[in-house]
């Protein structure tokens, strides 16, 4: 409930752990679903990379388990399922729950000084709707005729029952609808909480950037997930009840629909979706760079303005996904121009990060390393976006591995590093135990180096003309000449996969025997560090009164030899 009304601590196992309405418990639930999603998606990525590097050879260990009829080698239809579910699981079951679900739920109430989310029941419902969606998605893997095979974008008429008969694709659409519904509930909850439950004194100018990132993400969630929900409803009606919204007149007796309509609907949601994934990471990085440079975030208001600009512009740039689909010249060029314009707020954000680092007092903890990793990776990913925003280069590069490299660098690497930075930074507050810094730094370097190699190698194979989503590149002479890049990429990808074990070991080791975390290990002033680690059920004994901004580091007015100040302490003078 809202305000400073302390609702009673739930008793009983179910209320406390399963159907809990405490935002911290829900954050943990989202985190573990996120880790499960990253693990599943990661294993699928390894299978995809194995098939690309060694076409036809049985996948070691797991191969016989999944595909006994082909002696462990991945058959072509299973390969299509693999990259479809890899995309879907990484985005909707891995990153969204981890970045928005876990860190959103944990950080927003604590950082704005509230006791809990404003609608705790809706919060719990949001998790269980996601859980239901994930259940439906996992169930669709075991349906006869296999799971969805139309790519995570599922363009009809391949995703209609003409291209993929069977129930797999229908169940996939239902699970996307449910996960979308869960994100809408979460979005409503986050926006209302941030607007209504800020502690006294926590003005909009004193909100940490993480909360700003999550606020804009929720705005996009609330506005654009219903669009994909409707697109999925139309697809389910097409597949189950035989309507032909996406099936053209030339193909079906009752036809008259348009597959391009789905592409428009999908990408109206699709592009804001990639910003939904990157905005929390931008927020977290904006904060962490300031925290660990012991220096205020450069241009706080400009950064928030840039985030707002990206949120607004994200609605109108989706056309760059469809340059080769046959848009009219005017439409294509206007989307090209708009895509270039949206890169400007991105650049402004980027400069503010670099300016934050400049002349700071850098403490290179693993959270800081991951945040600087985001700068490197998003720099590389963002800049290569210019190739794809320009129609004349996109005509050649569209649907090649160049695009795969680009969106992995921006969406996968940047958001993933933002999530890892969040994990290393807030784990002490969430579980009350410190993650091992040495293992953290090793995990960073062991992830960062192979990751950069893998996704930059994709630029080369894409530039060489290797199309996306091919089961076997040695089948035709042209892409066979690029097979050597596949082998290198796959080797590096396996190292990248193995490197994630470091993080698993780190988390598991810390749960049992991690060092007890002090209340404020990183000497940072935001409100969540005024609470105990882990915070009690009602977060704060008394609702804190905020007197200063989140980034008042090395402020000359701070006395007592410290270079930081709690937001609740006044800045004298």
């Amino acid at each position: 409930m809202s305000g400073d009304q302390i609702h009673p601590v739930p008793t009983g196992f179910l209320r406390r752990h399963v159907f809990s309405t405490d935002h911290k418990v829900i954050a943990r639930q989202f985190m573990w679903v996120g880790f499960l999603g990253l693990f599943l998606g990661g294993v699928m990525a390894m299978m995809i990379r194995w098939q690309l590097a060694h076409p036809g050879e049985p996948f070691p260990l797991l191969g016989m388990l999944f595909w006994p009829s082909s002696g462990g080698a991945i058959p072509p239809d299973a390969y299509n399922t693999l990259f479809t579910m890899h995309g879907t699981i990484m985005i909707f079951v891995g990153l969204t729950p981890l970045l928005i679900g876990a860190w959103g739920n944990f950080c927003i109430p604590l950082m704005i000084g509230a006791r809990d989310m404003i609608f705790p029941t809706l919060n719990m419902l949001s998790f269980w709707t996601l859980f239901l969606g994930v259940g439906v998605a996992v169930y669709s893997l075991f349906v006869p005729l296999g799971a969805a095979e139309g790519g995570w974008t599922a363009y009809p008429t391949l995703s209609s029952n003409i291209g993929t008969p069977g129930d797999g694709e229908t169940l996939w659409a239902i699970s996307i609808f449910l996960i979308g519904a869960s994100s809408i509930m979460g979005g409503i909850n986050y926006i209302t909480t941030i607007v209504r439950l800020r502690a006294p004194g926590m003005t909009w100018g004193r909100l940490p950037l993480t909360v700003w990132g999550l606020f804009f993400t929720s705005v996009l969630n609330v506005l654009f997930l219903p669009v994909i929900g409707s697109a999925m409803i139309l697809m389910v009606l097409d597949r189950v009840f035989g309507t032909s919204f996406y099936i053209p007149a030339t193909m079906a007796q009752g036809g008259g629909g348009d597959p391009i309509l789905y592409q428009h609907l999908f990408w109206i949601f699709g592009h804001p979706e990639v910003y939904i994934l990157i905005l929390p990471a931008w927020g977290i990085v904006g904060d962490l760079l300031s925290f660990f440079s012991r220096k205020p975030a450069f241009g706080y208001r400009v950064t928030v303005g840039a985030l707002a600009a990206v949120t607004i512009l994200s609605a109108v740039v989706y056309g760059h996904h469809m340059f080769t689909t046959g848009l009219t010249a005017m439409l294509g060029e206007s989307f090209m121009l708009l895509t270039f314009i949206i890169s400007v707020p991105g650049e402004i954000l980027f400069f503010n990060w670099l300016h934050t680092l400049w002349r700071g007092d850098l403490r290179l903890t693993s959270a800081m390393l991951f945040s600087m990793g985001v700068i490197f990776v998003f720099g590389l990913g963002g800049l290569t976006g210019i190739y794809l925003a320009t129609i004349s280069t996109d005509i050649y590069l569209h649907d090649t591995y160049f695009v795969v490299g680009h969106f992995h660098l921006t969406m996968a690497a940047s958001s993933l590093f933002g999530a890892f930075a969040g994990c290393y930074f807030w784990y002490p507050k969430l579980y009350g135990r410190m993650l091992d810094e040495r293992l953290g730094k090793l995990h960073f370097w062991a992830t960062f180096l192979p990751l950069t190699f893998v996704f930059c190698a994709m630029f080369f194979s894409g530039y060489g003309g290797m199309p996306r989503r091919y089961f076997d590149h040695t089948d035709n002479p042209y892409t066979n000449e690029l097979q050597w890049i596949n082998e290198l990429t796959s080797t590096a990808a396996f190292i990248l996969g193995a490197a994630q074990l470091l993080f698993v070991v780190n988390v598991l080791k810390t749960i049992r025997s991690g060092a007890k975390a002090p209340q404020n290990p990183w000497e940072v002033g935001t409100l969540e560090w005024t609470a105990a680690s882990p915070p009690p059920h009602h977060n704060f004994d008394t609702i804190p009164v905020v007197l200063t901004g989140p980034h008042e580091f090395s402020n000359p007015a701070i006395r007592g030899g410290k270079d930081w100040i709690y937001q609740t302490e006044p800045l004298s003078g």
Binding site: S69, D77, T129, L145, N161, G166, M251
Partner: protein, 387 residues
């Protein structure tokens, strides 16, 4: 607790709608308006496609397959009773009055086959296997209809039904120059698909007709050009000699009655001997012939596929001399190409094996030198067509 009931109710309502997911066996008839008359049946967007096969099928089995199964099966399953095998598990059964073996293919195998068939093959061969899939419209050659159990390129003489291995090899080889791909599907799944395809043969025809006989690939003697056991053969390691003999044999056995001739009329007359000295051939001597009677029927109307011109068309199942030999020897069932070779080792073929090898080498020579070489081909054909 129930203050925010609305979203969960919406989700449950949706799931109830999702419950209608598997309409199970809603076949075409189960729905209201019939498809518009002018569009062929495949044009209906196939929703509610039946994916499971209810009951198993009793199909003709091949005794060599049973011997191989007996050898591979666990001990004690097969035993020889007199000269017929008895299968303890009852999958294979000897039919006394028809003197054939029947195989009872379980419904589970047919269901797996049906599902993979819908997944891989239905886009061309049609959801009912009638050879009229969504992608089949306007395809020439049109996709094979499995409702007529005649197969062109299995290298099994026309009089016999192809055995499983011949069909399997055909699918794994694919047919070059047609959308029939070399399928990278595992052998186990392919065998299930082939069992399903065999079960499509209508009542008392194809694998359901006991009077039919399942045969093996045509007898293929070793290729004289590469056969080490006869080094003294004139063609041994001299393919050009075989090609020259092939040119002669090709025109002697009048392959040019269907395929184009590659000799001028004078040379042809000289080759065919004095009685044909001044025969005048009609203008289409050097073109593939479009034989009406050799065409076959697709959904009610005739489709005629011309005999290939070896300097122009892609050979669908003839990547090397051996495959070309087998195609000539076995003939192409239903396409006017008779069985030239020997159906079994001791019978005598209408053309001696060595001559068939020579023609095979000659055909491969034509393909290798003239296909995709427009200049050379134009010059060669101009020479042939000059009186």
């Amino acid at each position: 607790m129930t203050r925010t009931l609305l979203p969960s109710v919406a989700a449950l309502a949706l799931l109830a709608a999702a419950g209608l997911l598997a309409p199970g066996d809603v076949t075409d008839e189960g729905r209201g308006a019939a498809p518009a008359p002018d569009l062929p049946p495949h044009a209906r967007a196939p929703y509610g496609v039946p994916l499971s096969v209810a009951e198993g099928a009793r199909l003709l089995a091949w005794d060599k397959d049973i011997e191989r199964a007996a050898a591979a099966a666990e001990p004690g399953r097969f035993r020889k009773d007199g000269d017929t095998w008895v299968d303890a598990r009852g999958e294979y059964a000897w039919d006394a009055e028809e003197e054939v073996y029947w195989q009872d293919v379980p419904a589970s195998t047919l269901t797996r086959g049906r599902q993979d068939f819908v997944q891989f093959c239905s886009s061309c061969h049609g959801l009912q296997g009638d050879g009229y899939g969504r992608s089949a419209r306007g395809l020439r050659p049109p996709p094979r209809s499995f409702l007529r159990s005649t197969f062109k390129f299995t290298k099994v003489p026309g009089a016999f039904l192809p055995n499983d291995d011949a069909l399997l090899r055909l699918v794994q080889h694919g047919l070059d120059g047609t959308p029939m791909l070399p399928w990278a599907v595992s052998e186990q799944r392919l065998r299930d698909i082939l069992q399903y395809v065999k079960s499509l043969s209508p009542e008392d025809s194809g694998w359901r007709d006991p009077t039919n006989e399942i045969g093996d690939v045509i007898y293929t003697p070793p290729d004289p050009v590469t056969d080490e056991s006869h080094p003294k053969h004139p063609w041994y390691r001299q393919p050009e000699k075989a090609v020259a003999a092939g040119a002669e044999a090709y025109h002697k056995y009048q392959c040019w009655s269907c395929h184009p001739a590659y000799m001028t009329q004078k040379q042809l007359n000289a080759l065919r001997g004095p009685s044909f000295a001044d025969t005048a051939y009609d203008a289409s001597l050097t073109y593939g012939k479009l034989k009406k009677d050799s065409s076959y029927e697709v959904l009610g109307y005739h489709v005629a596929i011309p005999a290939p011109d070896f300097t122009w068309h892609v050979l669908r199942y003839g990547r090397d001399a051996r495959e070309v030999f087998q195609t000539i020897a076995a003939g192409i069932d239903g396409a006017g190409m008779p069985t030239w070779g020997r159906t079994d080792p001791d019978a005598k073929g209408s053309v001696p094996d060595e001559e068939i090898w020579a023609i095979a080498h000659y055909v491969r020579h034509l393909v290798a030198t003239y296909q995709d070489q427009p200049a050379e081909r134009a010059a060669f054909m101009a020479g042939v067509r000059s009186k």
